[in-house]
Symmetry: C2
Subunit: 288 residues, 2 copies
C-alpha cells in the first residue's frame, strides 16, 4: 500500500480524513503515535526492526502514525531505507502522516508534495505556512491527502513570531489566528487541518472557536509537558476532530527487552487518558 | 571532502563565511547556482551525470552552489544517491548551501542539523524561522556553518504573512523586519545570513539598513523575474555581502547536447550582469 519505490503511488482510494476517522472509531482512539527513531534512546537494535515492533504492539490503539522525517534523515543515507521498511509495517487501515514541516516557493513545494505523496505515499503531512499561499497550494491541491498547517507550536519559541499582535483590518490579533483564518479559507477540499500545541490550551480554545470544522493535530503531550485535559476540553467538538500526538513517551517507555510491551502499555494509557478528558469535555460515555 | 556516508563529517577547517568570500574573490563572482534536478526540464540523462557536467562547466564562475533538497527528494529513494554524487563533484574550495528551509521544535531541529551538517557535510543551510528561537538554535550553535534565515521571500505568497504589520514595542513594522532584527540578535558567532528575494528591492534596501553586517542570499533572479539591478544596488555594502541565486536559467539554458556550454554562458552572463550592478552601486571598477 505504501509505495516505497520510484513510481508514483496510486491515489489512495480512501481519503485521509475518512481513513483517520474510521481508525479512530475502530480503535476508540484519538492517539497518534510519533515515530522518531533516535539511536541514543532506543534499545540496541536496527531502527526499522525497533519501529516495526512498536507498530505491531500499538496498531490497535492508535488512529494514526506520524513519522518525523528529521529523525530518519539524521540516520544517514540508510534513513530512507528505514522509512520504507516502517511504512511497509503499518497496517493498511491506519493512516500515516509525515511530520515534515515543508514549505517553500510554489515551484519547490510542488517537488516536496511529489516526494511526500507520490514517492512515499503518505496519507497526510504537516506544512509550514511561512511562505504564504503559493507555498501551500501544491499540497492543498491534493484532496485525498491531509494537510496540517503548523499554526500554533507546542514549543517555547512558538511565542516569538506566532504570538505577535498583527494588525488585521484595523484590529490587533495574534499572528497564529491570522494563519488559522487563512487555513480555513484554504480548506476548499475538506483536506486541511491545524497543528495546535497541547501546551497552550487557551490558544487552542480560541482556535477551535475560529475553526470549528478543522481537525487539530496536537503535539506536546508527554515529553513536552502540557495540560492535555484542558487542551482536549478546549478542542473537542463532540465529533472528535482532533489527534493528540505522543512520540518519545511511547517509543522509549522502556529500553530493555520489554520495550514493545512497555510501548503498548503507554499507548493504552494515553489513549484512555485522552478518552477520559473527552468524556469530561462532552459529557459522553467513556470510550475504552 | 563532503561526507556522503554514515559517519559524522569532520568539522570543516574553513568556516562557510570565509570559504564563500574567498570563492567570491577568486572567481570575481556573487553568483550562486541552484542545483534543482528536474527530469522534466533536463536533457535525457542521469540526473547526477547532468549536474556534474553543469558543475564542471561553471565552477570558476560561481561563489557557491545551492542544491534544493526538494528536487532530490522528488527523484525518489535514488535522490540521495544523486545528492551524494553531486556533492562529490563540487570542488573543495566552493561552498555548498543546502536549500532545505527546515525548522521545527528544538528537539527535531537538532536532528535536522545533524542530518544536514554531520551526515551530508553541507557548509550552509536555509532555515525557516516560523518556530522561533528554539527551532533555529540547533543550527546557530554551529559557528563554522552558514545559517540563512528565510526572511523575505521572492514568491508572491511572501506578502501573506511576512508583510503583515506587527506591533513591536508600540510601533507597527512588517513582520519580516521583526524576523531580521531577531536574526541579527541571533548572530553571536558571525554565522547568520538572511534570505531576501531579489523581487522586492525596496524591502531589501530596508533590510540592508537594519542588518548591515549580515550576508543576504537573494533568490528570484531569472525564472522568478525581479529587478536585480535595483536589488543589488539596494544590498551591496561595498564589501559584497550578498549572493544572488539563479537556478533554472543556468541549469536549463539549453536542452540539447550543448547544455553544459549553454549553462556556462548563462552563468558568465549572470555573473557579469551582477558585477555591473555592483559597479553602479558602489562606483567600483567592474569585476570580470
Amino acid at each position: 500500500m505504501y509505495n516505497t519505490g520510484e513510481m508514483p503511488a496510486e491515489d489512495s482510494p480512501v481519503a485521509f480524513m475518512d481513513k483517520w476517522r474510521r481508525a479512530a472509531a475502530r480503535n476508540g482512539s484519538h492517539l497518534c503515535v510519533g515515530l522518531d527513531p533516535d539511536p541514543a534512546q532506543m534499545p540496541a537494535m536496527e531502527p526499522a526492526a525497533f519501529l516495526r515492533r512498536v507498530i505491531e504492539a500499538t496498531s490497535d490503539l492508535v488512529c494514526c502514525y506520524k513519522p518525523n522525517l528529521a529523525f530518519f534523515e539524521a540516520l544517514g543515507r540508510d534513513g530512507y531505507r528505514v522509512l520504507a521498511d516502517v511504512l511497509a509495517a503499518v497496517p493498511p487501515d491506519i493512516p500515516v502522516l509525515a511530520d515534515a514541516k515543508r514549505g517553500d516557493i510554489g515551484h519547490t513545494s510542488t517537488a516536496y508534495a511529489r516526494a511526500l505523496f507520490d514517492v512515499w505515499g503518505f496519507d497526510a503531512v504537516t506544512v509550514n505556512p511561512w511562505g504564504g499561499a503559493d507555498s501551500v497550494q501544491p499540497f492543498l491541491e491534493r484532496p485525498e491527502r491531509g494537510i496540517f498547517i503548523w499554526c500554533r507550536g507546542s514549543n517555547p519559541g512558538a511565542r516569538d513570531f506566532q504570538d505577535l499582535p498583527v494588525l488585521d483590518e484595523g484590529e490587533a490579533r495574534p499572528l497564529y489566528e491570522v494563519v488559522a483564518l487563512r487555513a480555513r479559507a484554504w480548506n476548499r477540499h475538506g483536506n486541511v487541518g491545524l497543528v495546535v500545541g497541547v501546551t497552550y490550551p487557551e490558544d487552542a480554545a480560541r482556535l477551535r472557536r475560529l475553526c470549528p470544522e478543522l481537525p487539530f493535530l496536537m503535539p506536546g503531550l508527554g515529553a513536552q509537558g502540557g495540560d492535555a485535559a484542558a487542551a482536549v476540553r478546549a478542542v473537542d467538538d463532540g465529533t472528535g476532530g482532533f489527534l493528540v500526538n505522543v512520540s518519545r513517551q511511547v517509543l522509549y517507555a522502556a529500553r530493555g527487552p520489554d520495550f514493545a510491551e512497555a510501548a503498548r502499555a503507554a499507548a493504552r494509557r494515553y489513549r484512555d487518558e485522552i478518552n477520559r478528558y473527552r468524556a469530561r469535555a462532552t459529557g459522553a460515555r467513556e470510550t475504552t
